[in-house]
Subunit: 313 residues, 2 copies
Amino acid sequence: MTLRPEFALIERIQKAAGGSSRVPLGIGDDAAGLACRDDRETLVATDMLLDGVHFVVEECGPYWAGRKALAVNLSDLAAMGGRCMASFVSIAIPRNWNAREADELMRGVLELAAKWDCPVAGGDTNSWDGRLVINVAVVGESIEATSIRRAGAQVGDVIVVSGALGGSIYGRHLMFEPRLDVALQLLKLARPNSMIDLSDGLSSDLWHILKASHVGAVLEQKLIPVHEDVRHHADVVNLSSQPAFAHALHDGEDFELLFTLSAAQWETLRQNWKLPIALTKIGMIVSEEACRIVSETGESKELVPGGYVHRFG
Amino acid sequence: MTLRPEFALIERIQKAAGGSSRVPLGIGDDAAGLACRDDRETLVATDMLLDGVHFVVEECGPYWAGRKALAVNLSDLAAMGGRCMASFVSIAIPRNWNAREADELMRGVLELAAKWDCPVAGGDTNSWDGRLVINVAVVGESIEATSIRRAGAQVGDVIVVSGALGGSIYGRHLMFEPRLDVALQLLKLARPNSMIDLSDGLSSDLWHILKASHVGAVLEQKLIPVHEDVRHHADVVNLSSQPAFAHALHDGEDFELLFTLSAAQWETLRQNWKLPIALTKIGMIVSEEACRIVSETGESKELVPGGYVHRFG
């Protein structure tokens, strides 16, 4: 690594990073300075994305790798009932990359950062002999006085999911839109008792809520919204060996919001919901600490967390 | 990568992470929740450390790699006149590591985090085929209402450095203590006009202050505190080709504090300084936007930033 190219990249990022009244001190000092509110919870999420594990940069290109690294963190903020303030981007660039590839990566970050008013306020750039690594940390704050957590699901709560699930591997795992607008609109209309974003897959992420809340769930299979990507790629996903709804349950990286709220709050929400992203009731929270799914023929089975299996590398 | 070992590591970190009243929500949700003050600047620093670039883990072991990754960030907070609140640790672990090695790495992080009351409040763990990567982000706040920045040095300011410089390669670049206590004590006694931590080397880091403040400096060579490591390892560093003070000027990774303040403030500070870490006046801020160094024989030369040359990899 030499000093000059690294510093030039930082300067290009600095010029493009944008600003915000919440970030009085951005890139260029030993740390960034943020103006936080003491009547809000300051939220911090971080994720490290690795070439060959979370994406294959030779296939998707630097732009989508960079975009995904920010997007997964914005999805985490949305899942807390939060909005963003600033992002921090650390990258280890393969030594054989040229400036254009590094710029493309940062364009993926910066365009999404601009869209959601989450200026890049700091980070770290290195080059090395290894594969691309991107770590993003985002700082945000709860929209209301406190955040929405995984713990808090109440017996009798309705379980709701945004969007449609499954088959993200065909592109959505890179190109998804973090559901910050869903979280904001949701909190205007109703207060979820618990929330998470779907990164590991519905069956695993619901299990995180159940475990944290010490409750169980009953899902109705016919209500699970299956994304059209699953059927569209039916030849590839081999629907004969695994039915479409199983992809919706276990595929992972949907980055939709999964939340629970009282039946009364759900009724209010359902009647007033105006965003084009569907909200679907998929089941109920129950006291028995297990997760069951009821098939279209009325058969009830235990739903085992599918776990997250890395598809690459 | 499999789910189970990764989650077990997270659970072990969670148990050992400690807590703080400033971190109402630590590890275990989509994001951490911090209680920030609106009468302080919230500070965020982040650094990505790579095996073969910032350390060689086969030589130093996982403990010191982990410790360094947090320490460099705490040094950044100190340089802002800040104190810490929480740290966020993302790691990409080589697939052939065992649990003991991962635990050793986290012990290096957690022991330093406990010492400085900077609980690990979140992060991300992955394993992969590449070399070890550690990214740490720290969140802190300014000790006073605002932070001390690189910009702000005034013509007539005294330039002061903590500790002694040079030869960090012989161990201090891994084992240094971040100067959070120096920053705290300093702000009790005086208010620096500008400050930075010495990561790239005195000649480079001073240049950052000068550039940001639109001023120049004159250093006195005989005042530069040369660390005993330089002379102790004189056989290795080849003092015949490069004098000892040149190592103090250019070596880098000293992680001491460099700051400027008025002559009156320096007098107050000097008379009341009680910490065992020396503060040394090394020069003055001048209006001419250049950096000059005056030798022991009175010869004045321009001091060129030595730049940071990675020693490994």
